[in-house]
Amino acid sequence: MDNVVKVNIKINGIPFKVNNDRTILEAAKLVQVNIPKLCNHPDLPPSAACGLCIVKIKGSARMSRACTTFVEEGMEITTHDSEIFEIRRTVLELILSNHPNDCLQCPRNGNCELQQLAGDFGIREVDFPKLLVNHPVDNSTGSIVLNPEKCVKCGRCVEVCQIMQNVWAIEFIGRGYNMRIAPSADTFLQDSTCIKCGQCTAHCPVGALYEKSDNSAVWEGLKNPDSHKIVQIAPATRVALGEAFGLEPGAVTTKKMYTILRRLGFDAVFDTNFGADLTIMEEASELVERFSHNKAELPLITSCCPGWVDYLEKFYPEMIPYFSTAKSPHQMVGVLSKTYYAKKMGLDPAKIYSVSIMPCTAKKYEITRAHEMFASGYQDIDVVLTTRELSRMIKASGIDFLNLPDSEADSILGDYSGAGTIFGATGGVMEAALRTAYHLITNKELGNVDFIETRGLKGIKSATVDIEGTPVKIAVAHGIANVGQIMEEIKEAKREGKPLPYEFIEVMACRGGCVGGGGQPYGATDEIRKKRAAGLYQDDRDKVRRCSHQNPYIKELYEEFLGSPLSEKAKEMLHTTYHERPLYNK
């Protein structure tokens, strides 16, 4: 927009002023009018596909789409009258005639945008015959399920995967009535470029794309009387799980989560934040090592996000040497629970059943990604449940989550510092690493541990951080589409022998970081991502110990088991390798 000015418009006769960079859809909200929509999503450029948001503009014989029409001086808009309502109802009935009727058995039952619209419009019968498509379900990735029968062709998943994530794993294939959403090149999702980030599932308004549910596996696992059942929860889950029960985004429900998990039958409850502290010990040491050795080994790029790992292996395999070899916090807790913890408790690791609650669909892929994920001698983590799946398990259990008493985690692998918990927000890993890197380089403790320049929703955040005279050029990227620019800048600098633009880089595949993960409760927008992240930063501030190296259980772990960061034992347990992967499998 060239120059943004306030213009005078009328909506349904009500006059008011609004900036002319607003669409009618956005402007209407200012006068408490929610124009119905199905394909529109605030994260994405408008699709203009569904046809529900049509409105009348005085002076035009046509009806216009509110989602793509910007307001202009003097515009008079009618958002609701009997003719518009009738057209919208017909369009909705057409969509319903093309949609199966199995709400009661659908994963989106009670949480579906189409169901909501049908309810709001008071649909009691659909006059048009049912016309269903017959395409098979794709569950090839084991993380994400694509069910074309329910697809309403809103196009959000295509926009997410192509524009927001730049992965291009999903595309429209075919034309007209036969058009469907399919993996690119019409392969299976597993054979496409898909990185399993799950953003498609998080944006789908209906039950056409959803996480592969492992709930029944976990119910079964919990029944086994012989196993020792342990569970860990990721940082981002604690500020979002409450939304499924009516809490505000960002409400910190950690201690209730510990309680519910014990009530469900877990013998030990750990916290991935402990793993985060551990990851920082390893990775900050890596950073210091590379910095002092040979700047040719820089930049150091974080590797705790499995979607990002998959992306790098497929799209930028030449950058593999710059990846941190540290595993993700998730996997670190996993391997330690079947070695360190088992040993300390005198348990047979073969009998340990390890589950994790993650905001992430790619974690379901991570647990079998490489042979290092079996470093304990067994599969380090047996099952991953997303936040959404846990919320359903809780509801099925009948336990009143909101009114549970608080409890604590098993601190051996469950105690965490403030640095650990902020891993869930974009910039959190960077900030946590800097806090400890400062200590490793200077042997001092930071007074002010907040690195504000790492925080916020800007797609690429960059800064030069001064560690007592040592400048460290950092970059934080979230949303995979933002990574390309950084990678190219680095490659260019290396090619031309120029100084690197960035020396330490954090990448999260999902916008906002894990708080906006593909497995989190539906409806994430930037506003909600900010609130969830704010919850984590509050959790950080509430902690006495705010740096990973200050965690006493971390110190104990190194003393008793690992020795020191980057030791041989640490390398064996806590580090992994990466390999080039083809973009498409034949």
Binding site: I54, R88, L94, N98, G176
Partner: protein
Amino acid sequence: MGYRKFVMVCGGEGCGGKESLRIYDNINKELIAEGLKDEIQVVKTGCLGFCGEGPVVKIMPDEILYVNVKADDAGEIVRSLLDDGKEVTRLLYDRKKSTKNVKLPGMDFYQKQFRIILRNCGVINPEDINEYIARDGYMGLERALFELSPEGVIEELKTSGLRGRGGAGFPTWMKWEFTKKAQSETKYVICNADEGDPGAYMNRSTIEGDPHSIVEAMIIGGYTVGAHEGFIYIRAEYPIAIQRLELAIEQARNHGLLGKNILGSSFDFDIELRLGAGAYVCGEETALLASIEGNRGMPRPRPPFPATKGLWGKPTVINNTETWANIPVILTRGGAWYSSIGTETSKGTKVFALTGKVNNSGLVEVPLGTTLREVIFDIGGGIRGGKKFKAAQSGGPSGGVIPEEYLDIPIDFESLKKLGAIMGSGGLIIMDEDDCMIDIAKFYMQFAVDESCGKCSPCRIGGKQLLEALEMISIGKGEMEHLTNLNRICAAMQKASLCGLGQNTPNPVLSTMKYFENEYIEHIQEKKCHSGSCKSLLSYVIDPEKCIGCSLCAMKCPVSCISGEKRKPYTIDQLKCIKCGTCFEVCKFAAVIRE
């Protein structure tokens, strides 16, 4: 050159398909054999328009038109051109004995036509730039570059009153002015040659017969709006047109008419071709832009309009082939001359593909304001086989039907819109009493369903539901409820579809329902199709008074549903009958009745 006669062999689509090339070759051979090569020139020209009677050969300056010519007629034709030769009477047009053996100017087919767009088609060899230049080719460009400023060109267009010929009828001068005024270093002009309406071949003939008219027009357009690059988006199913364009562009470049510093004017401009890939929807301008950009051919909402934000976000003029074809002649002969043709609001001429149940089918170009009756009955020679006119479908899949009561309306943008029809690209299909209106609506609906891009729900699902409902009606399973549903869906598609395809797809359904509601009701309530098109609604019954029991029908019946005793009347089992009509055809006693 000194030629005393010219033999123009029509190489247009219809004639070319029927061996006009062999005719051309044979005439060449005969001319050589008779030693006439230096006196008589044989030219392969563009479409002469008289497609129903092709292959056609025109002799100039005698103005003789030979029709239904065969390759073996070459000898006779050439000999007729000798000093003492007489015209070949049997090859002259002679539909009804009353219009006998007429020469071109007297022919009804051509009398009311006024060929501006097709001015060179059938006259020049389209592969020779010199012939184009000889007929005032590129003089329009000269005038634009050296006499008029860009503002002057726009003034001339404004005076002419030229409106877009792609279907919308938007004033061309206005569109060009929007783009001219838009601030941008980079601008584009595009020719939409993705002619996709079934049965439409106006653009094809224009390009095949006179490719330079488009090239010249686009250079003028680029000069006027400030664009240095032009694209011609042409459907891949037109290989000859593509080849002619490539040749024309190359010839223009060689003559300094394309490239840098055109004719020394310091204006740079060049043209590239882009081929379609079989999608009708890519004729819609925003889908066309997406296609050129390398994306899926799906439309996007407007505003913003391409004139201000088009190809790769830059200001772009997109005009239909036919609109472009008018530009050079408006500049050479003046806007005032152009505006003297046509009506008050619709200036100039339009090319129509007149097809269907008329005697003379082919391409006709008439001044706007000509009535439908004149086109169908004067130019078209009336309905074939003496049948009764029922309706004219105008505008292809986006258009509507026009019944008999409106035959005297003048053909122009406003009048057609009032009737719920559109001029569209110029397809004009004439239907008689044997055509079923539900069948027609179904045909167009099938096309629309095939070609819908699928992006928006109203068109993607609505189109399919409309087709389903029409299917039901045509096989005798229609209910009155279907009519209500048809109306609801049509309204939703018109108001809520993303692009013109979806918005106009309901037109054939709505106009047939408006003017022929009785046919719909007959199909639904009586389960009958009086024109005999909807096979499922036909019944074959044996008249016991006429049947002599010869059993021939029973023997021929593919499902053995006819039974009876020899020499007694037979009966057809209606439950088993598949309405194939075999019994009807084989009965020698006219005892099988079809109702």
